[in-house]
Amino acid sequence: MIAGRGRQKIRPPRRGVHGEEIDFENTWAIIASAFREIHTKNASKLSYEELYRHAYRIVLKKKGEDLYRRVRDFEHEWLSNEVRGSIQALLTANLLASTQIIGGTTANERRTAGERFMKGLKQAWEDHQVCMAMLADVLMYMDRVYCTDHRRPSIYSTSMVLFRDDILSSVSSEEDSPPILVLLNHVILEQIRMERDGDVIEKALIKSCVYMLEALYDGQIETEGQRLYVTSFEEDFLNSSRDFYRAEAELMLRDSDAGAYCRHTRRRIYEEQDRCRSTLSDTTTPKIEKVVEDELIKNRIHELIEMESGVRFMIDNDRLEELSLIYDLNARVDNKKTELMRAIQKRVVEMGTDVNNAAIAASQVQSALSEGADKGKGAVQEKNLNQQTIAALKWVEDVLQLKDKFDEIWRESFGSDQPLQTALTRSFADFINASTFPRSSEYISLFIDENMKKGIKGKTENEIDLVLEKAIVLLRYVQDKDLFERYYKKHLCRRLLMQKSISNDVEKQMISRMKIELGNNFTMKLEAMFKDMTISEELTSGYKAHVAQLGDPDPKRIELGINVLTSMTWPLESMGSSGDNEEGKKLKCVFPPAIERIKKGFEKYYGEKHSGRTLTWLAAMGSADIKAVFPKVPQKDGSLKERRHELNVSTYGMVILLLFNDLPADQFLTFEEIQARTNIPKSDLIRNLQSLAVASKTRILMKDPMSKDISETDRFSFNEGFQGKFHRIKVGVVTSGNKVESDRERKETEKKNDDSRAFCIEAAVVRIMKQRKELSHQQLVAETLNQLAPQFKPDVSMIKKRVESLIEREYLERIEGASVDSYRYLA
């Protein structure tokens, strides 16, 4: 048909591509009959080329609109007349009954009916899709040209909408029965319900129906949120699930224990995730998870945790796995795990308070006893204090045990969750610093003391490390670090002066750990104490060399070991015995001449080295080794021999005993005479005499009358008949070790602590005001608290007092007329 060459005459071109107008009606008739064949699955004889060509020509001839409309009408009729009927035929009485929740049909019957219905629907849907795909192939030119140019949805999309309207939204023949779509929802929900109850259902079948709902849209706009699955099914599903799980939670809280509840909940969540994957749609997963989490966890977590078998029970019985479940569940619904945290904290404080109370109970029993002991029952008092010390150590061990327990729970069950650790720390600090239990600082220091003196004996380095670490762990919780420092210094002081420490290295390790934990300021004084000790050793040996150099060695020479202590560094006042410090300061002990000589000698030696320093002798703190010879007197066994003993006594003891050296054997000294000649404070004298004249194993003096108490009228004489089992005899003096303070001591310590606190507070306030110049009262208090937090937590009333004192001394002034109380710094 190409215009041949050489044609001379040129005519205007004819109309039409191939010269003929198309006959739309005829052409459509051909196409329509072919479509019918396709729908009846009889397409194998149809020629694609022919159908395509017809459609192509119609569109090219601008009849696309007509073709499009015809196809749509054709499909509408096909669906309405052919397909709908077959679906409605599946609506059996069983199925309809179930929608109205009428009894009389068994679950099995309903399930079968539901499956049949879904199968029919699925079949119709799949047929429709296949046929429409073929139609769309044939009508490709229309889609590409007509639909694109006129912005029409493709014929395939249009036909999907038709399926929705003509099939899913259609109402069944029976008057009051709901649309197919509603029925489908209901059937699916019922099947899911069956599966939740343990039945096996046809997941793939439901999934096919879900695919259909996902492929169709509500309305014209094809967005995610407009899918029929979302608009019609999902909401129903979530609502019915919510009801289901709400009821289930109710039932389980009543009938099972918390552990079972947790396991069940976890399984339900897995099941729902699985169901979304295999039966419904992945897009539903987060939503249904939320429903389950809300109903089974969020709304119930409080009840669950508070159950008899809840968190408290799990903690007490070390149900780590169940605690871990609770943690997971709580974490799902609450990032902060508020409920669990609350329960855990509560339990920590409860258990900690129990530990505290046990310690208080123990100390109260004993302080009642020690009231009597103050009247002179030394041995009883000692025993009580020892027991009390044991109670203190037990407190420390108990707290550490509690800490270990919760650490394990935290690690194993809570996945080392950071906020929970913070909460645990807070709770531990709460009970350790409870206002009802003021002794934690002292107890912790005692714990270290005990270990330094005995505990670490024979332990390996690692074990010692562990002990030190424990102490540090507890120390972290202590709020009033200043109080701890006070006790630690006191205890350390005794250890150093009495050489009770097992290892100087370990002492230093402890100090360096504290330095890391609490900073330089805290350990400065402690380190100074060690330094004093070192210097003292040098002094002692230096003095010894100095003396040796002076002249002929005197066999009777008294050797001097000396500790020179810096008075600000050492808590010397706490080293003296209780109650008579004032007296001790006023009175200077009178030393025997031999001792006095040595004392002078050292003072001279020291004065040469460090001019301008005054040495104060603390007789109450020293000790002496005395070689004693007991004359030949008849013994109990009748023998007659001289006995030599080496006596280790306190300095006071030595002073007392030396008085008897010059006394004829049958003479005596009265209490008053001894006191007058030695100037030893009364209470120290009583205690020393108790050791020397009452305690049966070290009765070097005889007392008249023989009684347990020392009274001022007693007379003392040398006990020539003394008999000791060992060569070396240690004469103990009551309260020489580190023990829990009595209540009176305690009050004093607190008072001293408050005094030094007052100083710290003033310093802090001045520091702050110097920098800020003007500040309101509120802000000043807040900043002061903040600055002092690493050391202690001061009372607000104390801060107020210090501020007033500073105003009086004109460091600060009140700002007149300020709306809130404010202060100004005065340079």
Partner: protein, 234 residues
């Protein structure tokens, strides 16, 4: 160089497939012509063939009967499938198609080859030349490419058509080609229609031709197009 060689061999073997019909799995019938072709070559380049080979009768018989297309044009389309080009040169075309495949180099040379049309003064009676015939063939190729969604062929045909227009606008075949363009493309397709409008507006003397006037008088949008084009170009 080895690359060029390899490419040459590749093209040669593809052309051999068409010429010999070896490994053919599809037959295309057109009038009396029977082409043994390959789905693997054709279907990826044309959605029409892709759908057709899987549909009803065509799938069953392995044959596609192009009932209404011109054998000449179908042949050129198939040539394009196998050679990435088609050649419009009258009788030679037939001859060449029957010969064993030409070496690639020659083929491309031929593709570019186009005899310069004789310059014709406007107003002189138009002559139909071989070049003019090609104008018609390009328009028809364009149409078949549109119909069967042959990838790239429309663009190729348009390029050739454009080139042919510059040389043969005064040829008697031009109005015939214009008519074909307006009959075989939808309004929205501005490809060849654009070329036609450009040609006419830049050579307004064409309007003096009665054949063109007939076309302008038709309600196919040509007249409006020319007018709009003229206004737009000032």
């Amino acid at each position: 160089m080895a690359q060029d060689q390899a490419f040459g061999q590749f093209m040669a073997s593809i052309q051999y497939l068409f010429a010999s019909g070896a490994y053919s799995d599809l037959t295309i019938l057109c009038d009396t012509d029977k082409h043994a072709v390959h789905k693997a070559i054709i279907c990826p380049r044309s959605e029409f063939f892709e759908k057709a080979v899987n549909f009803g009768k065509e799938a069953e018989e392995g044959t596609i009967h192009l009932v209404e297309d011109e054998p000449e044009i179908v042949k050129l389309m198939l040539q394009y499938f196998y050679e990435a080009d088609y050649v419009c040169s009258g009788e030679e075309l037939d001859k060449e198609a029957k010969e064993s495949p030409a070496p690639v180099g020659t083929m491309f040379a031929k593709g570019k080859k186009g005899r310069k049309g004789r310059p014709l003064a406007a107003g002189q009676p138009s002559q139909r030349s071989q070049n003019g015939d090609c104008l018609i063939i390009h328009a028809k190729i364009y149409a078949i490419a549109e119909k069967y969604f042959v990838a790239g062929l429309k663009e190729l045909a348009m390029e050739k058509f454009k080139a042919a227009c510059t040389s043969s606008w005064d040829d008697a075949a031009f109005p015939v080609a214009v008519n074909i363009v307006y009959q075989t493309t939808p309004e929205s397709d501005l490809g060849l229609r654009g070329v036609v409008l450009d040609t006419i507006t830049s050579r307004l003397s064409l309007i003096g031709k009665p054949e063109i006037q007939v076309l302008l008088a038709e309600g196919n949008g040509l007249a409006l197009g020319v007018l709009l084009k003229k206004v737009a170009s000032g």
